[in-house]
């Protein structure tokens, strides 16, 4: 069963683009990575699914229910960690979490206790006194305290130190093992690769690709640089080679496919230098931008 079904969802803010005809499904129990550069439309998509904003056209369903008409009942089982966390500044952490819990039909005291101990959260401090990272922890606890069935994480790791990031990832994995579906938005490919089973890549408001994380890794782009005498653009005329650039004796290109093909080619040459490396996320996005 699909937990999230998005169909040709479009959002314009006046004339400026939010997202255009975005379609994808998220299946029950998976961790779906949603990746793209800043301003690509990741937050817009999440805000549409939470009915914080209303679609210009298209439709989206969560738990099989339309997000526009049945938002409140959908949100009973949703946890949301926004990219920037802001809470009522005058409140104490404990009171904020209690207020948050009061929206759900559950006695969440036990769970608040567990989560805040895990995240090392000080319950008696005022929100206004907290550092950004600590506010983020409050966000994590308030997003999870009602044991939601679906989690929206919007750039969740920003502001967390590496140790906390690891705890957080462990927590998310544990939730996922309990059957919680996770929608994980990020612009950091590495963390998406660590956690997700499938990813959707969004750029300029449109879905560029949706693929299994394994396929993505298998077909991962490699950044290849070969330096040899007498090289020309034609030397690496292989299927899977893109972005080929030649400048006096050096070739740069991206390669997607079985890397052995490139290695065999290289072995026929008398090269002076070779490097094969992971492209940076920016480079991958550059690629999708074409």
């Amino acid at each position: 069963m699909s937990v999230i079904e998005v169909n040709n969802l479009t959002k314009y803010y006046g004339k400026s683009r939010g997202i255009i005809e975005v379609s994808f499904n998220v299946e029950d129990g998976e961790i779906f990575g949603f990746i793209g550069p800043n301003g690509a439309g990741k937050s817009t998509t999440i805000r549409l699914l939470l009915s914080l904003i209303h679609p210009t056209s298209g439709r989206a369903r969560v738990f099989g229910k339309d997000v526009v008409t049945r938002g409140p009942e959908i949100r009973r089982d949703i946890g949301y960690l926004p990219s920037e966390v802001y809470y009522y500044e005058g409140m104490k952490v404990r009171d904020l979490l209690k207020y948050s819990a009061s929206f759900y039909d559950c006695d969440c005291t036990q769970r608040i206790q567990e989560l805040s101990e895990l995240m090392e959260l000080e319950m008696n401090r005022r929100i206004s006194d907290l550092s950004y990272g600590n506010k983020k922890k409050v966000g994590i606890v308030q997003g999870l305290l009602h044991s939601p069935k679906l989690l929206f994480l919007d750039e969740p790791t920003a502001g967390l130190d590496p140790l906390m990031q690891r705890k957080f990832f462990d927590l998310i994995r544990k939730e996922n093992a309990r059957g919680v579906t996770v929608f994980f938005s990020s612009h950091i490919l590495g963390e998406v690769q660590r956690l997700c089973t499938r990813v959707g890549i969004i750029r300029e408001g449109r879905i560029a690709e949706i693929s299994d994380i394994r396929t993505l890794q298998q077909n991962n782009y490699k950044k290849v640089r070969v330096e040899a005498e007498g090289l020309s653009a034609l030397s690496f005329d292989l299927p899977g080679v893109t972005n080929l650039q030649a400048e006096d004796g050096t070739l740069h290109f991206f390669f997607k496919g079985d890397i052995n093909a490139v290695l065999q080619k290289i072995s026929t040459l008398q090269v002076s230098d070779v490097s094969i490396e992971e492209p940076t996320l920016e480079e991958i996005f550059m690629h999708y931008y074409e």
Binding site: Y13, S43, T44, R47, L50, S51, L52, I53, H54, G71, P72, E73, I74, R75, R76, I78, Y80, P82, S83, E84, Y86, Y87, Y88, E89, G90, Y99, S100, S102, F103, Y104, Q142
Partner: protein, 269 residues
């Protein structure tokens, strides 16, 4: 309506309610306490007032006022009570949903399992409660002070009730108009300037119309709709104007619900 939002809102506004109530209490006690000595010299005073140009008196709401009369005296004070009420109510109106947006807590609230309708109902009800608390306090203080300081002067309780009840409709106008304006502009950065602008603006509109005479601008301001001098001297409302006031308030409220339910909550940026 959800009780937790209601209580949260009420708690947030508690300090402000106490401040306004205290301010009104002090204003009323101070002003009414000078009535006994005032009324003794009233003949002299009324004579002096008669020498001022009528336009100037009208501007200060003293057009046809008898300061020797208990409620005439109170009616003059009531304009300043109204000014306070208008600023308080517009402050709450402008801030009702815009504060959550400018302080970016709207995401927190609206990602909870509540509908916009419930959010608006709870917030409005909490605000009405806050205004109601202020009202009850200043009613009681006024009533007690009048009993204490009136001396041998008679007063008509019915007129006092008219003033009080008019005050409630007066507040509703500023609350709902403030609310609808806050939803029409893209983002309210700070509530206070808007609230002061609406409150004082409406007051000045009425004052100036007194000076300008024939221009009918004053018809849109609640300070005219519930002009205390009119109510005291006629022992009745200016019914068409009160109906106009209620109509504008209801319209603004309906529009506010319509706008809020369809509103795109602005993201952090």
């Amino acid at each position: 309506m959800s009780a937790n939002i209601y209580l949260h809102e009420l708690r947030t506004r508690l300090k402000s309610v106490v401040t306004w109530s205290l301010g009104l209490t002090l204003l009323i006690i101070f002003y009414l306490s000078i009535f006994p000595s005032f009324s003794e010299q009233a003949a002299l005073l009324n004579e002096m007032l008669a020498k001022f140009p009528p336009q100037l008196l009208a501007a200060f709401g003293m057009g046809n006022i008898d300061l020797a009369d208990m409620l005439g005296f109170y009616g003059f004070l009531f304009i300043f009570i109204q000014l306070c009420l208008s600023i308080q109510a517009s402050n709450y109106g402008f801030g009702l949903v815009s504060i959550e947006e400018s302080e970016l807590t709207a995401d927190f609230l609206l990602s909870k399992p509540v509908s916009r309708w419930q959010v608006m109902n709870s917030k409005l009800l909490a605000t009405l409660t806050s205004l109601g608390i202020t009202d009850v306090i200043f009613w009681l203080v006024s009533f007690v002070c009048i009993l204490i300081f009136r001396g041998s002067h008679a007063y008509e309780p019915r007129i006092l009730l008219l003033l009080f009840a008019g005050g409630v409709l007066f507040q509703l106008f500023f609350l709902s108009v403030g609310l609808v304006i806050s939803l029409l502009v893209r983002r309210v950065r700070s509530v206070t300037p808007y609230a002061l602008g609406l409150g004082f603006g409406a007051y000045i509109l009425n004052a100036f119309s007194g000076m300008l005479g024939d221009v009918k601008l004053e018809l849109i301001t609640p300070f005219r709709h519930f002009d205390p001098n009119y109510i005291v001297s006629h022992a009745a409302y200016d019914t068409p104007l009160v109906l106009l006031n209620v109509a504008v308030s209801v319209l603004a409220l309906v529009a506010s619900y319509w706008l809020y339910i369809r509103r795109d909550i602005p993201a952090v940026s």
